[in-house]
Each structure stands twice: as structure tokens, then as C-alpha cells.
Symmetry: C2
Subunit: 109 residues, 2 copies
DNA sequence: TGATTATATGAACGTATGCTCATATGTCAA
DNA sequence: TTGACATATGAGCATACGTTCATATAATCA
């Protein structure tokens, strides 16, 4: 019993991350869990757009889009540059593409 | 203007999937967006467990775990086999590992 | 079969979430 | 500076979600 400690036959927590990390992970997925935000991300998939352009592209209110962009910004999923009076939003990095692709992958198999 | 149709300089929806697919995608991420469910998935990461074992491992009620397992089952993220009176749950496939890893990847970079 | 163990389910409750509407903030042009 | 356009923000509301508690269902063992 005590001689097989390197063969954890009843490992209690194989690789359970810290509580805080689990919360962060859940929060990240939570950002992807809303249709409006998913639409925004796809609208920006390969085309940077202004807030109004996003709203028009996905058929949502400017206010609703702005509210959701705030969440996407906090999650560092989108970034923006100023162009005149407009703010041009784009995807922050390739992680977004990868996450979306991975999700689609699971659904479509 | 009409001669450059294969160069969509103002593509309205570059690769926007169908509405229904977007809902499915959001729903999939929604499953990963709760701490209890994330904990369950990590508890099963490389060790199949019974419901009670999961509950004990993550410090949650049997009822709460059962409720969440129902959601994980519906999303085809976990499966189970019977062993005596117990139901032994395990991850459905490698997609779960990949999804979790991808999420962690984004957080930890 | 009857008792016991394991899991599932339903109602109820508190909280979180996303939308709309109205308005504030901010930027550019004249 | 003023007017017009672009975006952000806050309050309020309706809905969705996760937990607990009590109980139902199911399967095994004696």
C-alpha cells in the first residue's frame, strides 16, 4: 500500500488548478457564451469595424453592441484604434480564432 | 464598382455562420462557463469517477453535481458506465481536454 | 422481497445577465 | 465655440441560471 505512492490508484485531484484560476477560466468561457458577443467576434473575424458597423452587421442596437464590447475589451478579446470620430474594433489576437474554431469543431463533428 | 466582386472591399459578413449554429456555439461555451462544471470536468480529466466521488472531490452537494452532470451530458461532454450501484462518469472525448487547454492557454499567456 | 445505497428530479429562491431607453461623454468640422 | 456625429454609460426590467431542500427513481445485496 505504501510502496506504490508513485502509482496513485486513487488520486484525489489529478491536476485540479487553483480555485482562482478555475474562476478565471469559467469567466473566459462566459464571454463566449452569449450570441451577441459571438456575432460581434465573427463580424470582426477578418474585418475591423466601427461600433456602428458592427451593430449594422449583426442587426443589433448601438447600445447593446457597446455594452458587449465593454465585456469583450475587459476580457482582452478585442482591441480598438481611433479613426476620426469612429473607434475601429478588431480581434485582439489569434486566440479568439482558435477558441471559436475549436468550439465549431466540437459542434460539427 | 461591379467589376471587383471577388475582392469584397466591404464584405458585409465575411464568414458569419448561420444563426442556429451561432446559438449552438454560444450554448457550448455556456456549458464551460460555470465553475462547478469546470471543476467536474477537471475532476474527470484523467480519472473516471462516480457522482458521489465527484461531489467529494470538488466539495459540492450530490444534488448540485447531478444537476450539472445533466447539462454536461446533454452537451455530450461526459459519458457514463454503470458499475454496481454507481454510475462512473468520464470525459466524452478529447475535445474537452482541448477546450480546457485552449482556455487556460489564453488566460496564462 | 425488503432494506439500503446511489443517483435523478422538481419546486422555490436569490442572483446574475442582457436588453432597452434616455442621456452623458467625447471628437471633429466650420 | 457650437453643432453634429460616434460611442459610452446608468437605471430599470424581464429572463436565465445555479443552488438547496425534499423527494422520487433505480439498482444491488441480504
Amino acid at each position: 500500500m505504501t510502496s506504490e505512492r508513485n502509482i496513485p490508484h486513487e488520486a484525489e485531484e489529478p491536476c485540479m488548478p487553483d480555485e482562482e484560476l478555475l474562476y478565471d477560466l469559467a469567466d473566459l468561457f462566459k464571454v463566449f457564451s452569449d450570441t451577441t458577443r459571438i456575432k460581434i467576434l465573427y463580424a470582426l473575424f477578418d474585418t475591423p469595424r466601427s461600433v456602428n458597423a458592427i451593430a449594422e452587421a449583426i442587426g443589433a442596437t448601438q447600445s447593446a453592441v457597446s455594452h458587449q464590447l465593454r465585456i469583450l475589451k475587459q476580457a482582452r478579446l478585442v482591441r480598438f484604434d481611433r479613426d476620426g470620430r469612429s473607434l475601429i474594433y478588431s480581434l485582439a489576437d489569434d486566440h479568439v480564432h482558435t477558441m471559436l474554431a475549436q468550439g465549431m469543431n466540437h459542434i460539427c463533428e
